[in-house]
Symmetry: C2
């Protein structure tokens, strides 16, 4: 009788949406283990019309999904900007990104920047650089990914933790002190 507990690997695609740059990051979660798969960003040409830029985002995400076949997706929640016009543009980019994901049949979870910081760094006041450094560490990356890709990987990590925050990392042998791994 085999009593060994085995975990199924879940592939997660994280998205940090934006009209100019949409970051993406893919990780595999197996139990408490996380493994880096891929990351990068989709850039749109701001000389193109909005529908053409939306098509770039749509095609870019479709390409990533087709290449890596994630089973779940997570998208960062965006906040209203001081500039209402920017808020509208960002909203449209995010709507297009979510449409690309649900159009490929992926379940989409949403996380606020606060939830991402809490899940990745352990507290909601972490600086962007701290989040990026933790992404490098948690995924054992040899180099730092671009800021947009790192943010997208952080969203994927948040989803992998299932909202459990750094508590979920205890089994990995990390210890958290003052919001930093020690």
């Amino acid at each position: 009788m085999n009593t060994t507990k085995t975990h199924e690997t879940i592939r997660i695609l994280g998205i940090d949406p934006g009209l100019r740059v949409t970051g993406f990051g893919i990780i595999d979660r197996n139990g408490q283990k996380l493994a880096y798969v891929s990351s990068g960003c989709i850039k749109t040409d701001d000389s193109l019309s909005l529908p053409e830029r939306i098509k770039t985002i749509l095609d870019g995400i479709a390409e990533v999904v087709d290449a890596h076949r994630p089973q779940q997706a997570a998208v960062e929640k965006v906040f209203v900007n001081v500039n209402p016009q920017s808020t509208l543009l960002l909203g449209q980019a995010r709507g297009a990104a979510i449409a690309a994901l649900v159009g490929r049949g992926l379940p989409v979870a949403e996380y606020t920047a606060l939830q991402v910081k809490q899940a990745v760094v352990g507290h909601g006041k972490a600086a962007k650089e701290q989040v990026q450094a933790m992404v490098v560490r948690l995924l054992s990356l040899s180099g730092a990914p671009s800021a947009d890709a790192a943010d997208a990987l952080a969203v994927a990590i948040s989803h992998a933790h299932g909202g459990q925050g750094l508590g979920a990392l205890a089994t990995k042998g990390f210890r958290v002190k003052n919001g930093r791994l020690v």
Copy 2:
């Protein structure tokens, strides 16, 4: 030798985007003649998550495109709301609608509410009811479509006029006086 000038029929899908209700209207344009094809609206359940509501919009537009096979699409430009959160939600709905259209290979044009009023009524200060009444008249409808469907048909009519406004209607036997057809 046949010198008769013939026109190709172009089928146009107009969209009035919204998170709760997305109106759609389809017309055929043949030369200066416009013919009503179909109209209606896609409603999303506000108890669902944003990704699920976006999927409803995406699936609804895909269904309309598959059923009627329009060759061109036009989407009303939306404006920033006094409530930034509403602006963000509307932006996401509009981004999803455009994604649905470009995802089906449709070229997407954009028109402001001002352009739609000028194209359909002849001046930019027209009331919503005037626009709706003109849609009924221009398309020879027997009854009034819902407000969202009428707005979407108005966007399709604007696109059919190619920005020529009411001047393009002269050949239909209408005369414009003080922004009203007489």
